[in-house]
């Protein structure tokens, strides 16, 4: 660790232990010849002090040579004068070079940090702009979703309303008196069916908006109930629908009781929605509900031989207001919220999972998993 640290310090110019590896002298000495060398990144032959020394040597030699040529001897006074000049001059030169190198170094360092700061600032501005744009896009998407929610919700609510209103208007105007008894009954029944659908859609929209805004806060996840008993009840409620559609309903459960913790009301809603869909979108064949226990988990499958979900719609059916293309032809008044509600409920229960397998015109199978309480064995 300390070796690495030392290495990086050696590489950083300006630090006291910095060794300029560009410089031949520093490299060979493996230490700093002068204090100012810690600020220098130049190669050896570009060293200012070296140049001074070389020029001084040349000048000394030249002076001695001149004395020798002119006087035929080199007087001691000349030697003293020349060396004192070189030493004094060298001392000042040494000092001033150190200052120059230091100030160059700090200037460079300041410029670098300024550039870095401006780069960082620019980067930060860019980043923040990106973030703001992302947030704006998200807001736009939310607004679009909201407006789409309102469009579709109002459409789904208006459709049964318009039939109820229209039938009542005809009743008021005496139009129904002109009809045969059979036709009249059909009319009134149509209106009644639409009022039920209207109620269903209102419930679905309320529940979906509850899921969106409050989520688990509105669910009381502390109910303790037996899953098998709950499904007994739900299956019994659907027996008439199954009979009317001439379908076969299979309900199989393993013997042991299965107690779980969660929201009784919402789990009932989720299973009810799935069974309701299975019956609604199956015209021939069977609907089977199987509940088995696997260690501390309850595995529930709801399978039908119905219309299935086309490939292109499979990834979307758990979204709000999405109805598979073929679903509309079977049942025109769906809210497109059922599976969204189911998924939300399951996701909000710890340990609960949902998965779907489906093929168009073959049927759909939902796999559900719930965590059971350990003391459920009676």
């Amino acid at each position: 660790m300390s070796k690495i640290k030392k290495q990086t310090e050696e590489e950083e110019v300006g630090k006291s232990c910095y060794l300029n590896r560009n410089c031949w002298l520093v490299s060979n000495l493996n230490s700093l010849p002068y204090k100012r060398c810690q600020y220098c990144e130049l190669r050896f032959h570009k060293c200012l002090f070296l140049q001074y020394q070389v020029i001084s040597m040349v000048l000394i030699c030249f002076s001695f040579l001149l004395f020798y040529v002119v006087d035929k001897s080199i007087p001691v006074s000349a030697i003293v004068t020349i060396f004192s000049l070189v030493i004094v001059y060298g001392y000042f030169f040494n000092n001033s070079t150190e200052k120059i190198i230091k100030s160059n170094f700090f200037e460079k360092k300041t410029k670098e940090s300024l550039r870095e700061l401006s780069d960082k600032l620019e980067e930060r501005v860019k980043e923040q702009t990106r973030e703001i744009r992302k947030k704006a896009d998200h807001m736009m998407k939310l607004l679009e979703m909201r407006s789409e929610f309102l469009d579709i919700a109002s459409h789904q609510l208006r459709t049964p309303t318009s039939v109820i209103k229209g039938t009542l208007a005809m009743l008021r105007d005496g139009d129904l008196d002109k009809m045969s008894r059979v036709e009249k009954t059909k009319f009134i029944d149509g209106m009644f069916q639409k009022s039920i659908k209207l109620e269903e859609i209102i419930n679905d929209i309320l529940m979906a908006s509850e899921m969106d805004t409050a989520g688990e806060r509105v669910m009381n996840l502390d109910d303790k109930f037996d899953l098998a008993e709950l499904i007994d009840k739900i299956v019994a409620q659907h027996s008439l629908d199954v009979k009317n559609k001439k379908l076969r309903l299979v309900w199989h459960k393993s013997g042991k009781s299965m107690t779980m913790r969660g929201s009784l009301r919402y789990i009932e809603e989720a299973i009810n929605n799935l069974l309701d869909n299975a019956i609604k979108y199956t015209n021939k064949g069977s609907v089977s509900v199987v509940l088995i226990r696997e260690k501390r988990k309850a595995l529930l499958t709801i399978q039908d031989t119905g219309i299935g979900i086309p490939k292109e719609d499979q990834s979307k059916v758990f979204n709000k207001f999405i109805r598979a293309k073929n679903a509309r032809s079977v049942y025109t008044d769906g809210s497109g919220l059922g599976l969204f509600i189911v998924k939300e409920i399951i996701d909000k229960h710890p340990g609960a999972k949902i998965r779907m397998e489906t093929e168009e015109n073959k049927g759909t199978k939902f796999y559900l998993e719930f965590a059971l309480l350990s003391n459920s064995k009676r």
Binding site: D151, S154, H155, R158, T159, T161, S162, V163, K165, G166, T167, A169, M170, D173, D175, K178, M179, E183, K186, F187, G190, Q193, K194, K325, R328, S329, T332, D333
Partner: protein, 128 residues
């Protein structure tokens, strides 16, 4: 009362609505026919040449707007007045439908059957 029996074609995928508006139009002495899908409605428009088409926007097979476009681009059907009759109340959609050549855009829940019959009668009078 109208002097001629006008032929109305309703392109609508909800049978309850077909029953409701169909009954009213028949009582008012119109010749009423319907199609549950857009494509079938388009074919019927060519074959039967209805006097007026009532077109829903949210259809099972293709959007009502697509069918409107097709009807207005086809020489055989482009002169048949199309009333868009939907519960989808969206400004852009209304503008688009009118721009594509729909004669009117009526929100179903805002009118009772007698009113839509009256509206159709007015249009019938205009095209006579």
């Amino acid at each position: 009362m109208l002097d001629k029996k006008y032929k109305i074609l309703m392109i609508e995928d909800d049978l309850d609505q077909i029953q409701l508006y169909g009954a009213k139009f028949r009582l008012e002495n119109y010749n009423f026919d319907f199609s549950e899908t857009g494509e079938e409605g388009y074919k019927k428009s060519i074959e039967q040449k209805p006097d007026i088409i009532l077109l829903d926007v949210v259809l099972y097979d293709s959007g009502g707007v697509e069918i409107l476009k097709k009807l207005k681009q086809d020489q055989r059907t482009k002169n048949i007045p199309v009333v868009v009759f939907s519960n989808l109340d969206k400004r852009e959609l209304v503008d688009k439908a009118l721009k594509l050549g729909a004669i009117d855009y009526i929100i179903k829940s805002k009118v009772v059957p007698a009113e839509i019959v009256k509206k159709v009668a007015e249009i019938a009078k205009r095209i006579k």
